[in-house]
């Protein structure tokens, strides 16, 4: 990595107006505007398209009871318009993007909100202008909030139709008692229905500022020209006078197994077991923004997250994986999955199984726990570890195919650490040894640290579906 200013030789015009080159590590180049906006550029001329992604460091971790789901509802409101882009002027945001063939959307998650569009490369300025505009000029009208609330409530209802989502939500709510990962990103229903428009506006005015955002541009562009456009459009916004509020609620260590059952309409039983794990940078407590930036720039040599990710792959990626062999091949379950959260704050490692009809969930639970005990006991073989690391490295590259995927991956890294996490991810995973995996399997997969959830289909609901003329 270099930090020499002459790295930005092609950007002299923009630099003169306040764009500062910060760092580069091919293919990523980092700049910063005077107002604090972090800008990451990745040139990629495979196709005549460019992806623009603006990441805000605000997610459902920044919410509390009464306004859970506010981040997500606000994300929806951000499509309702600004004085420049709106329905009355026939410049509605979605229509403006749709008509140039953009692939666009926005998503909200625990740690961040992002807005992105992939556009033909000659439309880069439009994308930058639009994103810069809605960073500070969104209307957030009460009338729009009312109609959008029912849209979001229907999104919530769609999720409630899915047994796996219902169980996952219940497990997180029990595993996290104090930390805001307790509540789902979409929010609790009553909060979604009742959050006042003023609260959303306050959320917007607190978190939507250049110094709480990263702009990622990936694709077919000229660096100097791109930076000039960025400066022209985003440079107009001032940094916040006050610091962005921090989250400081740590989840205390769990002291004993927690269990829950959800009984609802459905067809197949589900089992989910979750264990607390560290943050993506290996921290075991919530970090301030400054602490996070420092740790991301100087990541610790010891970070259990990589070994946990490898364990998840060894447990459930493919037919040869341990849970597949122990549960699907033995016909206890019809599907299995394991996943380790890679969040900004300490998250969960989850094992999921869809129980085969006629099998007791308890039997499936025992089989899952037995496999984790084995991983901590005899451990994984060297070849098994290499297989799992290779699978992750390959998927990392599959996930970086195309400008929108690269932008999405970099933005996720920025949300939980910074772009260096994206750069070093594959190498750090590849360096995991069988010994590392055995160590983390012993360390985290304890009885006291786990939450066990069952979804049990209600016998008199759902199963008796039939058709009738109406």
């Amino acid at each position: 990595m270099t930090t020499a200013i002459n790295e930005a030789s092609s950007t002299s015009d923009a630099a003169a107006r306040g764009v500062v080159f910060v760092a580069a590590d091919a293919p990523v180049r980092e700049f910063r505007l005077a107002n604090g906006l972090k800008v990451l550029l990745v040139a990629n001329r495979v196709a005549p398209v460019v992806t623009v992604c603006v990441l805000y460091r605000v997610g459902s971790r920044n919410e509390a009871v009464g306004h859970t789901g506010a981040t997500h509802l606000l994300e929806h409101m951000m499509f309702k318009g600004t004085p420049s882009f709106n329905k009355n002027r026939n410049t509605q945001i979605a229509a403006t993007l749709q008509k140039i063939g953009a692939d666009f959307n926005a998503t909200t998650w625990y740690d961040r909100t992002n807005y992105f569009e992939t556009v033909p490369s000659d439309q880069l300025e439009l994308a930058l202008r639009l994103e810069a505009d809605r960073m500070r000029n969104s209307l957030i009208a009460d009338e729009d909030r009312r109609s959008e609330m029912t849209v979001v409530r229907n999104e919530l209802e769609r999720g409630q139709n899915e047994p796996a989502m219902v169980l996952d939500e219940a497990v997180y709510a029990v595993a996290f008692r104090e930390h805001p990962y307790h509540h789902p990103t979409i929010g609790w229903r009553a909060d979604v229905e009742n959050v006042p428009t003023a609260r959303l506006k306050a959320f917007y005015d607190t978190f939507y500022h250049p110094n709480n955002a990263t702009l990622v541009v990936v694709g077919d562009f000229d660096e100097g020209g791109c930076l000039s456009l960025v400066e022209n459009h985003f440079g107009a916004h001032a940094a916040t006078p006050d610091p962005i509020p921090e989250v400081y609620t740590d989840e205390p260590a769990q002291e004993g197994e927690r269990r829950l059952v959800v009984r609802r309409a459905g067809e197949l039983a589900l089992v989910q077991i979750a264990w607390h794990t560290p943050s993506v940078l290996g921290a075991t407590s919530v970090l301030s923004n400054a602490e996070l930036a420092e740790r991301a720039a100087n990541p610790p040599d010891e970070n259990d997250i990589y070994a946990l990710v490898v364990l998840a792959a060894a447990m459930s990626h493919g037919v040869t994986s341990r849970l597949y062999q122990a549960l699907v091949e033995t016909e206890l379950a019809v599907a299995v999955q394991a996943n380790c959260d890679q969040f900004r704050d300490p998250g969960l490692f989850n094992a999921y199984a869809t129980v085969r009809p006629g099998v007791e969930p308890r039997e499936v639970e025992r089989a899952i726990l037995s496999e984790f005990a084995r991983a901590g006991g005899e451990g994984l073989g060297d070849e098994e570890t290499r297989k799992a690391t290779r699978q992750i490295v390959a998927r990392t590259f599959y996930d970086r195919d195309g400008t929108s995927n690269v932008a999405a991956q970099i933005s996720e890294a920025e949300a939980v650490a910074d772009w260096r996490f994206y750069q070093t991810y594959a190498a750090r995973v590849a360096a995991v040894s069988a010994g590392d995996v055995r160590r983390v399997a012993r360390k985290y997969f304890t009885e006291d640290n786990r939450t066990v959830g069952y979804f049990i289909p209600k016998a008199d609901d759902g199963g008796g579906a039939g058709a009738n003329d109406a």
Partner: protein, 468 residues
């Protein structure tokens, strides 16, 4: 894919080469999708493999990966009428053991390389989707050939697959979206149609009864290179891929016929509606649809596509989206689509998800939008926007290996010509407003729709509700 000895190769080398590959300079010589610099068709290597099979290969060194998209005509259309589900069982058994390797050996070799190979079926095709790191492509191609040419259909594996499929069928019964579509096709098509969705009980019965002999028989009669299309894009040399495919697929002959003859159904007149009750669900899925006589090779295909996109392609910005979602807030998702304008004509429908209390309003509002559209047609500026959207979206879709492979496969499968990707913008531009409005009137008939409501929904006065 690798041998066991190779599995431990130095990952750092791979990671380093990936970073090199992603710099813009490294791909400067190979810009496959840069429409306008030179023709797209000139960069694609198209090769007949002698048995009727066709290979399309394109270099794109942006990442160290390769995407493969392929198909052959052995979908559910070809299965015996009395054995629904047989085509899918057969396709999904291909990777569950061959004459050379057990399922576990085959999966182990793929997984050690981080490679992925999947087979699925639709009404006409067995579809292949695969990806691997560039250096593993030779092994992936030979595995694909082994699965297609030498499946063993072991009985114990068939039994496990059947149990998994039966559980999946049962799980789908609580999906409001699936139940709505299932019923719409049952009300729209005859059971012999490839677009008819068999009831769960019928499928369960057929899958339970399927034997290894049934699968072998179907395989012998329907599999062969004759209709094989494979598009491979990514970190590869086209001449190497050609050689690998020639070696792996030479002599993969048959079947005698891959022709498809499907009569489009007579269109129902009048409106019909039905409620499929699925208890305990917070969300209701509603479909308003009909059979639509649109095939992929229809003269008005592009006019129909544009007619539909203005109506309901985007939940956020189409006519339906702007009214039912944006103005009225009735739904998170509303869209209209031609489900399968393929080798035969499938259904067209509007799909909307909705709270049980808003079902009637959402149906009325959707129909009002549709009626207004049919009555007044598409606007001049609106059509210009839709054209620009279609052309822009097409360009965007060509920015990944997977998107490029899909575009190449699509052009070959539907015999659109090697220069289809280059011609697409002109095809869209040349559609007139009159042609679009003719398509609107032909395909969208608000007074002749079947409405299916699936969820925990009680009609207020059963049998007496207007639909508009």
């Amino acid at each position: 894919m690798t041998t066991r000895d190779e599995a431990g190769r130095d990952a750092a080398r791979l990671i380093e080469s990936a970073h090199e590959g992603k710099s813009s300079d490294a791909v400067g010589a190979n810009t496959p999708a840069s429409v306008g610099r030179s023709s797209f068709a000139s960069r694609v290597a198209r090769e007949g493999l002698g048995t009727g099979a066709v290979l399309l290969a394109l270099e794109n060194r942006a990442t160290p990966t390769v995407s493969l998209r392929g198909s052959l005509r052995a979908g559910s259309y070809f299965e015996p009428r009395e054995k629904p589900g047989l085509a899918r069982l057969t396709a999904e058994m291909l990777v569950r053991g061959t004459r050379r390797r057990t399922k576990l050996e085959l999966a182990g070799d793929l997984e050690r390389a981080g490679a992925e190979l999947e087979f699925s079926t639709d009404p006409f095709a067995v579809n292949v989707a695969a990806r691997c790191l560039g250096e593993d492509l030779p092994a992936l191609v030979s595995t694909l050939a082994e699965a297609l040419r030498e499946p063993a259909f072991p009985a114990d594996e068939l039994e496990k697959l059947k149990q998994q499929q039966l559980a999946a069928i049962r799980e789908r019964q609580s999906s409001t979206r699936h139940r709505a579509y299932e019923r719409l096709t049952q009300l729209t098509y005859e059971p012999a149609s490839p677009f008819y969705t068999h009831a769960a009980e019928r499928l369960v019965e057929s899958i339970n009864a399927a034997t290894v002999a049934d699968l072998r028989d179907f395989y012998e009669r329907r599999y062969g290179g004759r209709s094989l299309v494979a598009a491979v894009v990514g970190d590869l040399k086209t001449e190497d891929v050609g050689r690998q495919f020639r070696e792996s697929f030479s002599g993969f002959a048959g079947p005698d016929s891959v022709e498809i003859e499907v009569a489009d159904p007579e269109r129902r007149e009048g409106t019909r509606r039905e409620v499929v009750t699925v208890r305990g669900k917070a969300n209701v899925d509603v479909l308003l649809g009909s059979a639509a006589p649109l095939r992929r090779d229809a003269a008005d295909y592009y006019a129909a596509a544009l007619a539909n996109s203005a109506l309901g392609e985007s939940t956020l910005s189409s006519r339906l989206g702007l009214q039912v979602r944006d103005r009225e807030g009735l739904t998170y998702g509303i869209a209209s689509r031609f489900r399968a304008p393929t080798l035969a004509a499938g259904p067209w429908y509007i799909a909307v998800s909705v709270n049980p209390l808003n079902v009637e309003r959402a149906i009325s509002s959707s129909l009002a939008v549709l009626r207004d559209y049919v009555e007044n047609g598409v606007g001049e500026e609106e059509l210009a926007d839709e054209k620009s959207a279609a052309i822009g979206a097409f360009k965007v879709s060509l920015s990944t290996n997977a998107g490029l492979a899909e575009a190449l496969w699509n052009a070959e499968f539907y015999r659109l010509g090697a220069d289809y990707v280059d011609r697409y913008p002109r095809l869209i531009e040349s559609v007139t407003r009159e042609e679009v409005n003719a398509a609107v009137r032909k395909y969208f008939r608000p007074d002749h729709l079947t409405v299916v409501i699936a969820g925990d929904y009680e009609p207020r006065t059963a049998g007496a509700q207007p639909v508009a």
